[in-house]
Amino acid sequence: MKVTVTVNNAEYVRDVEPRLLLIHLLRDELGLTGSHWGCDTSNCGACVVWLDETPVKSCTVLAVMADGRRVMTVEGLGSRAGLDPVQQGFTQCHGLQCGFCTPGMMLTARWLLDHNPDPSAAEVREAISGQICRCTGYENIVRAVLWAAKNGGTG
């Protein structure tokens, strides 16, 4: 069936099976491979994107549920003019190693800072508690988000 989704401010119309997961629409149909997947059971959060300005696990949402809605992926962070402060923070603070969880982490961080511009470390940890990182032990992710909060947090 036909779905119309606005991803990173561009409208896409595709014909998909109802069972197609949103993460696969983004990656396989639209070629936006910046969002990843890492599990079968909605635990890891590598697939986090924004759906109508709300972070969701896109492996647990059907593409048809996104019909008529807006999606933002990591490719929509920042602009040609420059990186979002969250992206800068991750670079400055070594908030990533293999980079696989990073897009999801950054999108959650961006959402957090939009709603809570000066979070505590504990609030950052709570915000990312549904997302797994296997490389960083989380400390530098937290530091990256706090850096972004202090350095032009609202992008």
């Binding site: 069936m1 099976e17 109802p18 069972r19 997961l21 993460i23 696969h24 997947w37 599990c39 079968d40 059971t41 909605s42 635990n43 959060g45 986090v48 759906l51 709300t54 972070p55 969701v56 696990k57 492996c59 647990t60 949402v61 059907l62 048809v64 549920m65 019909d67 959650t108 709570e126 915000a127 508690s129 549904g130 997302q131």
Partner: protein, 291 residues
């Protein structure tokens, strides 16, 4: 990543439309709300509905309203909304306690209260919380709506009284004076299903427990409730001893099963320990003291 089997899809535009579709497809259909209980089951192919009826467009089903002495929660309310709601926090601390430890913040953004209750997982936290609060479920069907006590709603693991042509539309909770509530959960890790959890509500009249509600999950408690323990507390003073005894009675009345989360004897112990702790928390709050 695992992916669902083929399925057909209908988008409901109103409650009536949803009911029409449910009547047409019967048990071949499943209601799709947040999908965060159903879609994981479909990906593992443990659930293989033939048709999904998407109700996310029925925004009328998403509300948290205080009307008189009742809190009314629409079935499509997202877990995150319940957690953010000041009204809920004010009157039903147990729901905030429980939501804080359900899944994770991202899942809570999209999963719904109704979806979790209808999934009827034997370890569902909200089932215990609503049982403790003695809530009422409103179910819509072809013949109109009916009400079922939260304690009658679940009939077994993954089974509720909602018929194939029916839909849960609302949960409502009475607000009664002198109340306080709380939830205590033990899990192997943040966001995991409980190994055992207890929710408690007390309504005090002076120092006496006028009424009590105790909900238990993941420990095989019938209808997610500890009725005997509640009966014991009614009319008694709220002391350390009575609360501890209530915990013991609650533990005796449940039927935990050994599984990966823990052995049965440990779960029974948790039923006792957490019931007592939840009661203590409820009493403290009922007395208006800082928890």
């Amino acid at each position: 990543m695992q992916v669902p089997a083929q399925v057909e899809y209908e988008k409901a535009t109103s409650i009536e439309h949803a009911l029409t579709l449910l009547a047409r497809y019967g048990s071949a259909a499943r209601v799709l709300a947040g999908g965060h209980s159903l879609i994981p089951m479909m990906k593992l192919r443990l659930a293989q509905p033939e048709v999904l009826i998407d109700i996310n467009g029925i925004t009328d089903l998403c509300y948290i309203n205080l009307t008189g002495a009742q809190l009314r929660i629409g079935t499509l309310t997202r877990h995150a909304q319940l957690l953010q709601s000041q009204i809920v926090g004010e009157h039903f601390a147990i729901l905030h306690d429980a939501e804080r430890v359900i899944a994770d913040p991202i899942v809570r953004n999209w999963g719904t209260v109704g979806g979790s209750l209808c999934q009827a997982d034997p370890s569902e936290d909200l089932s215990a919380a609503f049982a403790a609060m003695k809530g009422t479920m409103v179910i819509h069907g072809p013949d109109g709506s009916r009400e079922v006590s939260a304690r009658e709603f679940h009939t077994g693991p993954y089974e509720t009284v909602v018929g194939p042509a029916e839909m849960l539309t609302e949960i409502n909770l009475p607000i009664r004076p002198g109340g306080g509530s709380g939830y205590q959960k033990v899990s192997r890790r943040t966001g995991d299903w409980p190994v055992g959890a207890a929710g408690a509500a007390v309504w005090l009249s002076g120092d006496t427990i006028a009424d009590a509600g105790i909900g238990l999950t993941a420990v095989g408690a019938i209808h997610f409730a500890a009725a005997e323990a509640e009966e014991y507390l009614r009319g008694r003073a709220a002391t350390q001893e009575t609360l501890a005894t209530a915990g013991e009675i609650a533990a005796k009345s449940c039927r935990p099963v050994t599984d990966q989360r823990g052995p049965a004897d440990y779960k029974r112990h948790l039923a006792r320990e957490l019931t007592t702790r939840a009661l203590r928390l409820a009493v403290t709050r009922a007395r208006g003291q800082a928890a």
